[in-house]
């Protein structure tokens, strides 16, 4: 068990800056893209934490920093009792077995020259698990688990539809019996009817195998459906974390409410009767984030203090957390 409680994953003050350089031979750093800028959260076993935000808010970078595909600039990523951010080499490799990732694009994330058996079995080969025969057996078991036929093992990715390919990606992620799966926009490339199949599959697997998901998506409706808690990201920072029922009925951060009111509801009466709070303007560049609260230039409640100092995350007894000086349930 961990020193500070029993969280499966605990991320503290995670920062990832990508350098902007000038010059070809002699490179000089002239700035940094603040992709992730001081994010903290935890994730328990069997739980799904959804991360939502618009493009460029750093949600994908966050996922990749957790699984150490990017090494964080600073901060800690505790998986059970080990800080992945400070581990290297074999030590890290051993730890990383417990985490897997499912990528967004099922067309680009499967090697077109390998058949399904080699794709799904590759993690087993890398970690030298089992014999050739037992691996073959395991691959068929995994295919069955994700709703594909064991006879599909001989086929190649191009023979499958988008939804089936995403199932192959999930089977590969399950091969090593991980505790945590990072799902990076796993359904955004799929049509709605197929999207529902994959979401149901992920929920089923969680029940059967006790998996934890870090579920990254831009679609708030999808995230609501699958998550136990949801974190909203804006420009590299988490601005609000709350259980879905609170987040959707009673958002605290002005950005969350703006995001929610921008999402169309598939019901003409409700949709036309809604009072909208449209956010104006575009997301600023993460290479030059605004001072103070990063949301203040687009915020309808911004005051002087917002541009002067960044608000800290305040945790409430209801399980909601929000980083805002003037949350929506306070006085205006």
């Amino acid at each position: 068990m961990t020193v500070n409680g029993s969280h499966l994953l605990e991320v503290t003050d995670l920062v990832k800056h990508f350098p902007i350089t000038r010059g070809v031979v002699i490179q000089k750093q002239i700035g940094a893209v603040h992709a992730v800028d001081g994010v903290s959260f935890y994730l328990d076993q069997g739980e799904t934490l959804g991360i939502v935000g618009e493009s460029g808010c750093g949600k994908t970078t966050l996922g990749r920093c957790v699984i150490q595909l990017y090494r964080p600039t600073s901060g800690t990523v505790l998986l059970e009792d080990a800080d992945l951010a400070s581990l290297k080499g074999n030590e890290l490799r051993r730890r990383r077995r417990d985490m897997q990732i499912v990528f967004q694009d099922p067309y680009a994330s499967l090697n077109p020259r390998k058949n399904v058996e080699r794709i799904v079995g590759e993690p087993l080969v890398i970690y030298r698990i089992g014999s050739r025969v037992s691996r073959k057996e395991r691959v068929r078991e995994l295919l069955d688990l994700v709703g594909l036929s064991p006879s599909h093992a001989e086929r190649y990715p191009h023979e499958f539809s988008g939804g089936q390919r995403q199932r192959i990606g999930i089977a590969r992620a399950l091969a090593l019996d991980p505790k945590l799966i990072i799902c990076d926009e796993p359904v955004s490339a799929l049509d709605v009817s197929i999207q529902a199949q994959i979401l149901n599959l992920l929920k089923n697997l969680q029940k059967r195998l006790g998996l934890s998901y870090l579920f990254i998506a831009h679609d708030l409706a999808v995230v609501r459906h699958i998550s136990h808690r949801i974190g909203v990201m804006y420009l590299g920072k988490l601005v609000e974390v709350a259980p879905p029922s609170y987040l959707y009925s009673n958002p605290l951060h002005p950005y969350t409410s703006g995001l929610l009111s921008a999402i169309p509801i598939p019901d003409p009466d409700l949709e036309r009767a809604r009072s909208r709070r449209l956010l104006t303007g575009d997301v600023p560049s993460p290479a030059a984030p605004p001072s103070g609260c990063v949301f203040h230039p687009r915020c309808f409640r911004a005051r002087r203090r917002c541009s002067e100092e960044p608000p800290a995350m305040v945790h409430r007894s209801t399980g909601q957390s929000c980083a805002c000086f003037y949350p929506l349930d306070g006085e205006a």
């Binding site: 709605v192 529902a196 169309p264 598939p266 909208r276």
Partner: protein
Amino acid sequence: MPALLEVQDLKTHFFTRQGVVRAVDGISYTVDRGRTVGIVGESGCGKSVGALSIVGLVPNPPGRVVGGSIRFDGQELTTMSKREMGRIRGAEISVVFQDPMTSLNPVMNIRTQLTEGLRFHRGIDGRKATARAIELLELVGIPDSARRLKEFPHQLSGGMRQRVMIAIALACSPKLIICDEPTTALDVTIQAQILELLAQLQRDSGMAMILITHDLGVIAGVTDEVIIMYAGTIVEKAPTTQIFHSPQHPYTRALLASVPRLDGGEREFLEAIPGAPPDLADPPAGCRFSPRCTERDDCCRADAPELVGTASSDHWVACWRHGGSCGL
């Protein structure tokens, strides 16, 4: 008064090495003046090809309109020469494409792209054209428009580029504007801005609009009528409220049930549609949805149902469960 646009039994096929792909296979609908019609379907259902056929923008080869007629404002479009079509496209009917990153010319400034249509169709040039361009940019909500005219597409954000696309489409005050997934490439907060803008422009100018999208939420807010397409055919068309409140076709019902909703109650599992859409080079016999349909019977597998009116006169469904008989 006849409808502004009448599409009758339109068939657009693609002739590929793998065989004939029947991307659009006999669709009929009308668009009245000043109305907004939404066309919804999943990828590959033919919704874009069907609309691009109207303005002759289907790449030929391999694509070709092989049957049916398209009448726009009294003229037949399918038999027009390229030159005649060129005079209609951009002036009478204009198109807003999905991807604002690739549909603007990266080496032309905004002014040139905005005034191209005015010069070509209306013979307006010089200072007058610039004045109109500034007016158009203000209309679509781009501040500081005089300066923006000199800029190039890469200097604008995605939402701004889509506003420029819309301004270009509006330049010659068309009677019909076709929006092909205008907000799919944009973030939700920007999508909301663009949809609001389109709805307002449509109200003010009284033009008709065809809105193509895969997002049922987008449809709900903006359209008067909805057409649901599946595998190259229309399965249902009805006024927007009826599609959402009393969907008749099993596919429409399944589609609505499979969408995760922001306002929905706690549903543990979504109702997914089993299987995947068919290969249009070799579509299934009978009703094209039958292999995935939970209500299918022998009739559905034997013969394709026609689009027939239901009790309410402007609600049309192509399903054996709702009238007609296949003769079995």
